[in-house]
């Protein structure tokens, strides 16, 4: 049964997965082209100097791409469920409600995780040849809040889409916007180092907010 749910989720999201992979690779390639251009025009020393003296990572273009990915994935996964009332059918499957929802949400989180980890690996492998480990970790740690924001976007859009009433949807959207805003409050390099692990744990825990919406949906809240 779980396999069937996972297959259903894959059918819904496979083209989006491909699209998101292309978008992430395209943005990563663009950032790497910019780095390559600086190195070829001004030399690697100039690139190092900028990274050492400014809060610049050469990956600022990617700032909102993970968030956009998370939001799109949640929309593609859960809007069809709500529009065609498929969620009602889903919840009648001979499995506990939490297991069904857990599988669907877990699928989404893992899909995002796969995309983000692959993006991180591509960036890290490219930078490994150009920069010292101190500067690579500086870039990756500065970017990390943007990727955690991707999970937050997924969590809050899923929470909002699965919510049965418009009034509560509006509240969820406002709470989501405020929560996601914290990932973009500081643009200084490595500003989030002290709390980023906690933010990741909290964000992944918040994915479970959708259980609240489904519970209200099942209770017939109008």
């Amino acid at each position: 049964m779980i396999k069937a749910i996972l297959y259903k989720e894959w059918i819904k999201t496979r083209y989006l997965f491909l699209l998101l992979a292309i978008i992430l690779v395209a943005f990563t390639a663009y950032c790497q082209l910019r780095i390559g251009k600086v190195v070829s025009l001004r030399g690697a020393a100039h690139l190092w100097e900028i990274l050492l003296t400014r809060d610049h990572t050469f990956h600022e273009t990617m700032r909102y791409v993970p968030l956009f990915s998370g939001i799109l994935l949640a929309l593609f996964q859960f809007v069809p469920e709500m529009q065609q009332k498929r969620l009602k059918l889903c919840l009648h499957l001979p499995l506990p409600q939490s297991r069904i929802m857990g599988t669907m949400l877990g699928f989404g989180v893992n899909l995002l995780m796969a995309l983000f980890v692959a993006t991180y690996l591509i960036i890290g492998l490219y930078l490994y040849h150009v920069l010292a480990p101190e500067l690579i970790s500086r870039i990756l740690l500065t970017m990390l809040p943007w990727f955690v924001a991707g999970f937050a976007g997924y969590a809050f859009v899923a929470f909002t889409v699965l919510e049965p009433t418009w009034r509560r949807r509006l509240l969820n959207v406002l709470a989501g916007v405020a929560f996601i805003r914290i990932f973009y409050l500081s643009s200084y390099a490595e500003a989030y180092n002290q709390v980023i692990v906690w933010l990741l744990i909290i964000t992944l825990a918040l994915v479970g907010f959708s259980f609240l919406s489904v519970s209200r949906f099942k209770d017939g809240v109008q």
């Binding site: 190092w48 100097e49 003296t53 809060d55 500067l135 709470a175 500081s186 709390v195 519970s215 809240v221």
Partner: protein, 407 residues
């Protein structure tokens, strides 16, 4: 599970409101607190200041006693600061306090030193470019390598090939061993830029608290131990590289005393100013050949000290206090606490809570009564009790989400 998430969602909404409501309130009611631009005048031997009146959009030129000056008179009582204007007006005196002055002498002796907490409280990657300090060219050139300080030594990395330069690393490491540097290095400071007149490299303290001066001279390491009083525990260093070449650096110790390291004799001289905490306070020094005006400021106070440029002893001082600092603002009555994530004194992101305000308890009780009245038809439950307690303690932050999640 949904009950747990109901509580988590309620707590999340409280946290969001504890951050956003005080932020909105401060945004709407923020008052500008500014202090007059103040310098010590060698002519009137008192502080002279420009008091900007933002309502009238006009500036008043006054001294501490309240005497008013015209803008031209003000230039004349601060000749070391406004010397370019005085040269243009052909009013620069030949002699000030018995010393012959010219615009070139004044330019060489003048300096402005700044330290901001946000430049200190930040992450540094730990890679340092070491410039050639005695190149045969006039302009300084940025090096092709950077060094890192490891637990056991120093390592140079060639930036073009991104590899450790073993030969250069070994050369510098041997000098570090010869001079008995105890690794790991504790504090290091320098100005790794070519936009300066000359280079003095880096000053650092080793694991034993000893102070060293590191430079690169014609490709060779220059490492000099600086004898200082072992009682002084250096905590922060600023390499100055001033035009007059009289000082290598400014330093602070663990007791927040402020020192100047004189050049070329490496004497550590205490500067007679109030304790300076660079992690929390800003400092600006307007220096000239006669006096230094040292401005130390934080969110509530600004202390201006005039220091004799020769002896570094205090001549005079004055303090500006924020008139609002001891007042209990309306925010204290509205919000029991205030949550923020960023600050002007650092470049870190983390949750910061302002101390709990007991003044908000009155509003909290009113809101609690209102909550009980509005929810009187609700069945008594653990959740209802939890929300009531939250409203009593956290006031408006808990009241709004309690109503929004009433169903």
């Amino acid at each position: 599970m949904s009950k747990t998430y109901k509580i988590i969602y309620y707590i999340l909404l409280i946290a969001i409101l504890a951050w956003l409501l005080p932020w909105l309130y401060n945004l709407a009611t923020l008052k500008r607190w500014s202090t007059p631009f103040t310098l010590y005048s060698e002519i009137i031997e008192d502080f002279a200041m420009i008091n900007v009146n933002y309502d009238e959009k006009a500036s008043r030129f006054i001294d501490r006693k309240g005497n008013s000056y015209t803008e031209t008179q003000f230039d004349s009582i601060l000749p070391m600061f406004y010397y370019r204007q005085l040269v243009t007006d052909n009013k620069l005196p030949d002699t000030i306090r018995g010393t012959h002055v010219t615009s070139s002498i004044i330019r060489r002796e003048n300096f402005i030193f700044r330290s901001r907490p946000s430049e200190i409280n930040m992450h540094h990657p730990g890679l340092y470019p070491l410039l050639e300090s005695r190149s045969k060219r006039v302009d300084l050139v940025m090096p092709e390598d950077v060094f890192r300080l490891t637990k056991n030594g120093i390592e140079f990395i060639d930036m073009e090939v991104n590899q450790v330069n073993r030969e250069k690393s070994a050369l510098f490491q041997s000098v570090f061993i010869q001079k008995e540097v105890a690794f790991p290095v504790q504090t290091i400071a320098g100005n790794p830029t070519n936009r300066k007149e000359y280079d003095e490299g880096y000053l650092f303290t080793d694991n034993d608290g000893k102070l060293f001066h590191l430079k690169q001279v014609q490709g060779r390491p220059f490492l000099r131990p600086i004898p200082i009083d072992p009682e002084i525990n250096i905590s922060r260093i600023w390499v100055t590289e001033l035009s007059n070449r009289k000082y290598f650096a400014f330093l602070t110790d663990a007791n927040n005393h402020f020192y100047a390291l004189t050049a070329p004799d490496y004497n550590l001289v205490n500067i007679d100013i109030p304790p300076f905490k660079p992690e929390k306070e800003s400092m600006t020094i307007f220096g000239n050949m006669f006096t230094w005006t040292v401005v130390q400021s934080n969110n509530t106070d600004e202390i201006v000290t005039a220091v004799d440029a020769k002896t570094l002893a205090a001549i005079d001082s004055m303090t500006f206090c924020n008139p609002e600092k001891d007042k209990i603002g309306t925010a204290s009555y509205l919000f029991p606490l205030q949550l923020s994530f960023t600050s002007t004194v650092d470049k870190f992101f983390y949750p910061r809570l302002k101390a709990f305000s007991c003044h908000a308890l009155v509003l909290n009780l009113v809101l609690l009564v209102l909550y009980v009245v509005l929810c009187r038809k609700n069945k008594f439950s653990a959740m209802y009790l939890f929300k009531a307690v939250a409203v009593a303690v956290l006031g408006i932050f808990a009241f709004i989400p309690a109503l929004l999640l009433k169903q």
